[in-house]
Symmetry: C2
Subunit: 391 residues, 2 copies
């Protein structure tokens, strides 16, 4: 997410939230992954907001993107300067209204912000997994989330919501656990990466692996591959914006208005922006997690996994109502990809709403304040809650 | 240019060509660059094809892109396996017909394929310049080419032709030396980089500079920053293709058709392609030259340099007839940028033809066999030759 873009501070916050942990798949009951490797024990960091109602009909599961975490909204403490990553969407009276809904958000496995990932201790060695961590898939991430929901006693989800890699998890949830998912909101996402998206991820991964500090993933306790991770993040940020977004945001504006430096400093504001984003990222993210999560997103292929290479067949398993949202300037997962999934959903007579939102911020748009987006999500959730209660 | 794409072997080759060298700006007459730094002596590697006619009216100056060189067509020796980089366009009977035209192609300064650049010996130290090489601009490159043409006794150029960064030089020639340039063919280019193009270049440069072997540009005689340069080239290759080009060329095809590797090998063909392009590039290109030439392309801004920030004012200086060509799938320099320059040319009552060619190969399209492109260029050159002789 782009923290360089000013977030809207308006709206009431849900206030203080608590980071919780759930551990499962403890030996000898390790989880068998899609790769056939086994992983366990597995810890998931999660957060809940709002109150679960008596008939347990108000659960919203929010799924985060590449570098997100379980901290979706609110603050950890009174002194906390920064709220969760989707504060603009989640809170009292907001698009996902915590006065009405019980929100659960968990950190995906493979990540580094509380859940088990390559930086976690490998119980069989007592050292961090590093590159001994098994490759996990979007399906594995979702199965781990399912274990958390079982633990919380949740049998039905009013809506699964997420953008980008979070949107992939939304689709996976809808197809893998159709009887649990009443509705689903995949935002700015795709049923499978294009060659272009894979190409960007591969360049980013190679940037990390080319850093000598990466050391085949064994860098915990020594110098980290910060230059490589910063580069990877720079690649990411180019994809999160777009030609138009960059033109509006930066154009050819110079850092020093007078002239070029005639050296290799950051002359242009866009260069400075990318360097800043790269450098800032290394403080909060683990390079190996970046490798594993991007790989999972490249592997994700709803057709291949669930539909014998047919998008229509894949969605034949789903029962949810869908609200599919794309953004005009998103060139990582362009609207044509959302339209393809909508077409496949409709062929299965699923109840689908689709909206392409005019937005100039590229792929990042789903994380930014947008009244139309909030209103769409709010209306969709409310209708689903009413329908569910009628039953 | 993408050598992974099969080049068309059809057509007659111009045959054997010779690499020549011209040295100028020898002390005390160093060239004063746009940065106010001085550079000298300067050597330019060049190649000529065809025969200069008596009235010297058949000169075509071809200008190369980032990683090109003076070797535009033909072979250096009988054993040579590979012709010059624009063999499909330049030769007897081809789009640029060496039976009719006298073709000159020179390696730009700042490059590493025969012309003075950061890998050249700095006469004041006896060692390679490295990062002591001054930042050169597109204008400096063109002024060096002018010195070569003066040396060759050429006073009028029937056409300057070039794509991408070569196209920037074409525009610079037309505006800087209007009385010499009868016609100009800028292909797949822009009057100034968008923020997106700068962003890609900046990521590529940071990849090189993050490689510890880069050593602030002092790596000659020791380990080269091959990992960084390969990464930079990978970034480049993403921009040379496009979403659609990649989908057609690679899609999600796997290297091993059976399944994913579930490790960090190149699973997808697009990953393998990028790794191959990166690795191959380091054998033939210098990392510092990559830094300097991309910087020159980012600095290039015809409006700023020649038009007080007005594209129309910039082209007020030009007198050439123009054939502007863009390609539908080029997202590095999209058609809207060509259209903007055409509009500015027309406002100056210049004789302009514009063509957007339907091509699926992205920015690389200008280097690939395309009958329409060859026919357009051939027709345009022939008309100009006839007009010139009428005078």
């Amino acid at each position: 997410m782009s923290e360089y873009i000013e977030h809207d501070k308006d709206g009431v916050s849900v206030g203080l939230v608590e980071k919780r942990y759930f551990t499962f798949a403890e030996p000898p009951d390790a989880m068998i992954l899609e790769s056939n490797a086994s992983l366990g024990p597995i810890t998931i960091a999660y957060e809940t907001l709002g109150t679960l109602n008596e008939d347990r009909s108000n659960v919203i599961l929010i799924l985060h993107a590449l570098s997100g975490d379980s901290h979706v909204a609110g603050y950890y403490s009174e002194d906390d300067q920064k709220p969760g990553w989707w504060e603009i969407m989640v809170g009292p009276g907001k698009g996902i209204d915590t006065d009405k809904y019980f929100v659960i958000c968990s950190n995906i496995i493979g990540s580094c912000i509380g859940s088990t990932g390559p930086a976690s201790i490998n119980p069989s060695t007592g050292n961090p997994y590093g590159f001994d961590f098994p490759v996990v898939t979007i399906g594995d991430m979702v199965r781990a989330q399912k274990a958390l929901l079982d633990h919380l006693g949740i049998e039905q989800i009013l809506s699964v919501v997420g953008g980008s890699i979070g949107g992939m998890q939304v689709l996976e949830w809808a197809v893998r656990y159709p009887d649990m998912v009443v509705s689903a909101i995949p935002l700015a996402t795709t049923t499978r990466h294009s060659a272009l998206a894979i190409a960007f991820n591969e360049v980013a991964r190679q940037a990390i692996m080319a850093d000598p500090n990466w050391n085949k993933g064994k860098y915990y306790g020594s110098e980290k591959p910060n230059l490589g991770l910063a580069l990877a993040r720079m690649v990411g940020h180019v994809t999160y914006l777009s030609d138009e977004a960059m033109r509006r945001k930066f154009g050819r504006r110079l850092q020093n208005k007078n002239d070029f430096s005639f050296n290799f400093d950051a002359d242009f504001q866009v260069e400075s922006y990318l360097r800043y984003q790269g450098q800032k990222f290394v403080d909060r993210f683990d390079a190996n997690s970046f490798l594993y999560i991007t790989k999972a997103s490249d592997y994700f292929d709803l057709r291949r996994q669930h539909g014998n290479d047919s998008e229509t067949e894949a969605f034949a398993k789903a029962k949810a109502r869908f609200l599919v949202i794309s953004f005009t300037s998103d060139w990582l997962y362009p609207t044509y990809q959302s339209k393809a999934m909508v077409k496949a959903m409709k062929k299965n007579n699923l109840d689908v709403s689709f909206c392409e939102i005019e937005a100039e911020w590229g792929h990042d748009a789903f994380l930014l304040h947008n009244e139309r987006l909030s209103a769409l999500i709010k209306g969709f959730l409310d209708r689903n809650l009413v329908e569910l209660r009628k039953k």
